[in-house]
């Protein structure tokens, strides 16, 4: 049996119109993500800052770390409460694949959920992610809508018991 998985990385293009800032400008945090505990691992300070803020905007509670080692230790000290790990694949020392492998050695496939973040445009990255026990993948640069969509998709699949 083959699983056909499709995911869309949507690119949002701004439309150049101007309006005074209103309170509806702020993206609202989505109910199912509210309070979702996340560990974010990315070695680049800028990417880490932006992605963390983005996840917080969606309502998540984020712990940001800068390496695979820190990710594993944060996970073990947080015990059951961390629901999701967002993982940059291309980290020095220990890459995202290695981290995922180690997580899956001790934990089940649906907890914590793992979403990979990759700059790679290669097709087989997704396959590799799946093999390592990851649940989702998002391509850089990380956009709010793209992250929201992938989070939703991944959470839904868990709900379906897959």
């Amino acid at each position: 049996m083959t699983l056909v998985l499709r995911f869309q990385i949507r690119l949002s293009y701004g439309r150049a119109t101007f309006a005074p800032r209103t309170s509806s400008e702020q993206p609202r945090s989505i109910p199912q993500f509210r309070g979702l505990r996340v560990i974010l691992a990315d070695d680049d300070a800028l990417n880490r800052t932006v992605t963390k803020k983005l996840l917080e905007k969606l309502g998540c509670e984020v712990t940001a770390v800068s390496s695979g080692f820190e990710c594993l230790s944060a996970l073990s000290s947080a015990e059951n409460s961390v629901r999701l790990v967002v993982l940059d694949i291309q980290m020095p020392e220990m890459d995202g694949f290695e981290v995922a492998t180690r997580i899956r050695k001790v934990r089940s496939r649906s907890w914590p959920l793992i979403i990979a973040v990759t700059a790679s445009a290669e097709d087989n990255v997704w396959e590799r992610c799946l093999q390592m026990g990851m649940n989702g993948m998002i391509r850089k640069p990380v956009l709010l809508q793209g992250m929201a969509d992938e989070l939703q998709r991944v959470l839904q699949r868990v709900g379906e018991g897959l």
């Binding site: 949002s12 293009y13 701004g14 439309r15 150049a16 119109t17 101007f18 309006a19 005074p20 800032r21 400008e25 702020q26 993206p27 680049d44 300070a45 800028l46 990417n47 800052t49 932006v50 803020k53 983005l54 905007k57 291309q90 700059a119 850089k140 640069p141 990380v142 956009l143 709010l144």
Partner: protein, 152 residues
Amino acid sequence: MDILNQLQRQYTDFTALLYREGFVDDNFTQVQKLQDESSPDFVVEVVSLFFEDCEKLVNNMAEALEQQDVDFKQVDSHVHQLKGSSSSMGAARIKNVCIAFKTFCEAQNREGCLRCLQQVNHENTQLKTNLQALFTLERQIVANGGSIPVMQ
């Protein structure tokens, strides 16, 4: 009222120019949209991080390219990092230079790499100047009691 309108108009025009000329792209808009009351200086923080990153990487690349035996893999990994952060921040021109830069690294073309490095430096300086001007306008608008026009 007049001065505020003028400032807001300047801001709008200047922002439009920055996008039109490709200095920044949608990812910069996203960074701006992420700023809120809980992190009122988010944009400035991100921009500062970027320029720190950029300068450090440029120095590393310059050093690597000065070597007798250039380690192009090393240069490429720096370029890759710069490409990533410029992309996240919406520094479109710099990101585009990085794309060309990567090609020269793969071709192990030292001259090409050096040209790209020069371009990165140039774009970096320009972007810094432009963003500083943008932030100054923002401060002036707020100081005059106005709100900053937002790009949709």
